[in-house]
Amino acid sequence: MRFGIVVFPGSNCDHDTLYVLKHVLGQESFFLWHKDHDLKQADCIILPGGFSYGDYLRSGAIARFSPLMQEIKEFALSGGIVLGICNGFQVLLELGLLPGAMLRNKNLKFLCQNVHMRIENTETPFTNKGKPGQVLNIPIAHFDGNYYSDSHHLKKIIQNHQIILRYCDSEGRLNEESNINGSMEHTAGLINENNNVLGMMPHPERASEILLGSCDGRIIFESIINYLK
């Protein structure tokens, strides 16, 4: 499987994501420079975490204008698998490939910690190796992860089961305290209507080695590999 990881100026989880895919999971993986117009026949495109363009103006707002985004948009619209992690999720929202927007975390602070999330839908390219209701332990690290959507779109994404990961407690219960950043509907991961573009705030690449405390993030990557097989 060929994974292309986009490098924007200010991306800082690009190397981490490449490391997991290449060295932990043994996949063919490479960087894609944001100024290019070539996806290098990637089967899956990953927009990694970080602070593209410093997140000045608004998280992800400038990165969407990068030259390569044109190709990525076409790739996504023709059914290609695209995963946006953290800042990558924010870019996907700005690009309009996913509905909604991000607000500041409810406590108005940057949050870096391990959190729990529940798999709500396993019939996707990103979660097919998980079990329905399975609780994953994966870290977050963001300032703007408080998902917001207008009521019209919100209704739609709920109906379509597009919220495929929800923040929860260690037992899988949804409550105010475990909804760490205040996201509507506890949204931690949101998929598009066509089931091929996922944005998620938690960092699966930080939870793919037992040395780092959790391997739950691998479920996301292994699901993609399984789907593309």
């Binding site: 800082n12 989880c13 602070f51 940057f110 870096c112 780092l212 405390g213």
Partner: protein
């Protein structure tokens, strides 16, 4: 003739001015005076500390670079080296907490990647005034978010550090930032300007008027003109620095540059003169070519600006275009502003006129060195008398008060604002004795800790220095790491006061002695004097940053109890000591010494035992005893883990109960292990000659501590946890 007022404003004494005139055989012009004022400032020249810093042991078989460069370098095998350094950003962080702290992070990161290393972690030692004062809270909030704002954006994890509180920091908080990087041994770069005619390139952000006189500001006391100094604080742009980091590492990887130096304190002045001085060469630059943020800047302003995110590169002549291509790829300027010469002068032209023409050695090497007067305290600080301290009747409430003392309570409020996981190397997260970072593609890890106790150092500067080293190394031993190198940040008051200079001399001696006994080289550091506001000095605060090596990733140990029915053992022996303890300060409102005694040989044996037991795989947990003593340590072992684990302990030493629980006797480590390993451990302890006592076992839902069979503390673990956990967040709650 330069008037006296101007000279004084530049922080230069009349004698120093005379020396300048002697050295350059004429009067300097204003720009030249500005250059001297920066480079001869305490911050840049170390003129008051130099004679003492020589006492540090700086050599060792693995030392690649000792003091004198941007950072120290230690060989860690596998063709790799660890590059590390600590710096203070105290004065700016008081004036403008967010930007002061943020640019502190930016500065230390540049020190590391200037040498070709990719920064893999930062840690911070923070000292604030008490949180009961709202101004202190605002400073803390600003500093923490400044560190977060910069470090998170650039993608270097902030993996730990320390946060302490005392009145003495109310008007003079301390922000010390440590950074660790990894470099390929074959790709180390230095600040050199070699080869006549080689081009000098300016890369990174444009130059503005920010930060003019930053280094001079850091070399004077604060008076009532505080607010006026706010414009001296620089403004950071972490995004620009991220681009600069990637571009610099790329030109270095491609072997396109000969020498490189960051523009930190004293900006263009420092980078040009130091590069030339290091190579015995000269540099000639044209200020008209410098990318400028605003119009009409004078040569004085350009030379003295401390605008952030700038570097100076000396490139191979034939590779200039390739260098510029790499910077263009990262959307950065790389402009040729001059060339290397062989006349040992710094020549600066502006508008076709000569603005500066100074011998480099006068600026860099010939700054006066002072052997300032020292005088021990008189009278010496008060010492505690045991009979003055009533024995408490209720240890439980005291225990809970100690646990929630802000210095000892949970710091998650701080570190969860930092991305401490990016780069996916953080094997031991903040909150443990030391943070541990694995080195990808090897079986090794590096452990890092920052340590210091300013009240110990105030009460007895030499002991304080020794204890800082001992405790930092003990922290490393608890995670299973052997110390390989030290950097230090020495925060003191005004060195022109003999008592302060004495504190400094004594503390340096203590640190030097301990480093020699532990066989760890000091590879550099930073001295921050003039931590005085309105005439009041901080406690002397040496902060030690120690890096340790873990050879086997599988042998990393953490402080928390791992399961029930494990045996709890105290390595070392508790003495009847209460001086300078958190207990005295917090419970009895007594700020009295002396600090606990320290026997460095004994300390070494305790650490050796801990390390040996870890390497044999005997231990479930190991945790250092420090502030708050045995009670604090036990509590942390119970609550730091994912699964909180109670304990039942009976202490059999016949000393005062309060001293036993809260005394801060040195050279003690609390370990837990399975019963089956007990005999091996006993044999080891005997062999290494370390006293120990089996004090109890893990399990249950209570923290239960007896003294000579009598229950003195028996509290549900949940209650201990919430006291500890909520202390700092409660101070910041918005009502």
């Amino acid at each position: 003739m330069m008037d006296k007022e101007t000279i004084k404003e530049h922080g230069i004494t009349q004698q120093e001015y005379k020396k300048i005139v002697d050295l350059i055989k004429r009067e300097p012009n204003l720009t030249e005076l500005g250059i001297f004022s920066l480079m001869w400032s305490e911050h840049c020249s170390y003129k008051s500390s130099k004679i003492y810093l020589k006492k540090f042991p700086t050599s060792g078989e693995n030392v690649i670079q000792g003091p004198g460069e941007n950072a120290g370098i230690i060989d860690i095998g596998d063709g790799l080296a660890a590059v590390f350094k600590i710096e203070s950003h105290n004065h700016p962080s008081f004036l403008e907490p967010y930007q002061g702290a943020a640019t502190g992070v930016g500065g230390i990161l540049r020190d590391i990647f200037t040498m070709g290393a990719r920064p893999i972690a930062t840690l911070d030692s923070l000292h604030f005034g008490p949180l009961s004062v709202s101004k202190n809270k605002a400073i803390m909030e600003g500093v923490v978010s400044g560190i977060a704002g910069y470090g998170n954006s650039i993608g270097v994890p902030t993996v730990g550090g320390e946060t302490f509180f005392d009145e003495c920091y109310s008007l003079n908080p301390l922000v010390n930032v440590f950074c660790l990087g990894i470099v390929k041994k074959k790709k180390i770069f230095y600040a050199r300007a070699e080869g006549k005619g080689n081009p000098v390139l300016y890369v990174g952000s444009k130059t503005g008027r920010d930060g003019i006189h930053g280094a001079t500001m850091a070399s004077a006391e604060f008076g009532e003109d505080l607010e006026e100094k706010r414009p001296n604080v620089q403004v950071g742009d972490p995004f620009k620095e991220k681009l600069l980091l990637e571009a610099c590492l790329e030109v270095m990887e491609k072997d396109l540059v000969l020498g490189i130096q960051d523009m930190g304190a004293a900006g263009l002045t420092c980078s040009t003169t130091e590069m030339a001085a290091n190579s015995g060469s000269g540099i000639e630059i044209d200020l008209d070519l410098i990318p400028q943020r605003e119009k009409g800047m004078t040569p004085y302003e350009i030379m003295l600006s401390e605008s952030q995110e700038r570097m100076l590169i000396v490139a191979k002549k034939e590779k200039v275009e390739q260098v510029q291509d790499v910077f263009a790829k990262w959307d950065l300027d790389a402009v040729i502003i001059g060339q290397v010469t062989d006349n040992q002068h710094l020549k600066v032209n502006s508008g076709g006129q000569k603005a500066v023409d100074l011998p480099v050695s006068a600026i860099v090497n010939l700054c006066p060195v002072y052997d300032r007067e020292t005088k021990p305290y008189s009278p010496s600080p008060p010492k505690v008398e045991f009979h003055d301290i009533p024995l408490p009747d209720n240890y439980e409430s005291i225990f809970l008060q100690i646990i929630k003392s802000p210095g000892l309570s949970d710091k998650e409020w701080v570190f969860r604002q930092y991305d401490h996981m990016v780069q996916t190397n953080t094997a031991v997260l903040p909150g443990a004795d030391a943070s541990v970072l694995r080195i990808k593609n090897t079986s090794k890890a590096l452990a890092v800790t920052l340590d210091g106790n300013s009240f110990y150092t105030y009460s007895n500067p030499k002991s304080g220095g020794k204890i800082a080293v001992a405790e930092a190394c003990r922290n490393l031993a608890c995670v299973g790491a052997r110390p390989i190198g030290v950097t230090n940040c020495l925060n003191f008051g005004n060195p022109e006061k003999p008592e302060i200079m004495w504190q400094f001399k004594e503390a340096v001696e203590g640190i030097a002695q301990a480093c020699r006994i532990f066989h760890i080289p000091v590879t550099g550091g930073n001295v921050s004097f003039y931590n005085d506001t309105e005439g009041t000095s901080i406690y002397p605060t040496p902060v030690l940053g120690v890096v340790g090596m873990i050879h086997d990733l599988n042998k990393i140990t953490t402080p928390d109890f791992k399961g029930p029915e494990n045996i709890i053992i105290l390595l070392g022996k508790s003495k009847e000591e209460l001086g300078a303890s958190e207990y005295l300060k917090k419970i009895h409102s007594l700020k009295k010494g002396p600090p606990p005694e320290i026997d460095l040989e004994k300390e070494k044996r305790v650490q050796a035992l801990c390390l040996e037991a870890i390497s044999q795989g005997l231990l479930k947990s190991a945790h250092d005893l420090s502030e708050g003593g045995l009670a604090q340590c036990l509590a942390e072992c119970c609550i730091l883990g994912k699964k909180r684990m109670g304990c039942q302990v009976d202490l059999l030493d016949s000393i005062r109960t309060d001293s036993l629980l809260f005394g801060e006797t040195q050279s003690r480590i609390l370990i837990s292990l399975e019963r089956k390993h007990l005999d091996v451990l006993k044999d080891l302890a005997k062999k290494i000659e370390v006293p120990f006592s089996i004090i109890g076992k893990t399990g249950g839902k209570q923290v239960c501590i007896k003294h000579l069979g009598k229950i003195i503390i028996d509290i549900p673990i949940q209650k201990v946890y919430s006291s500890w956990k909520n202390s700092i967040p409660n101070h910041f709650k918005i009502i």
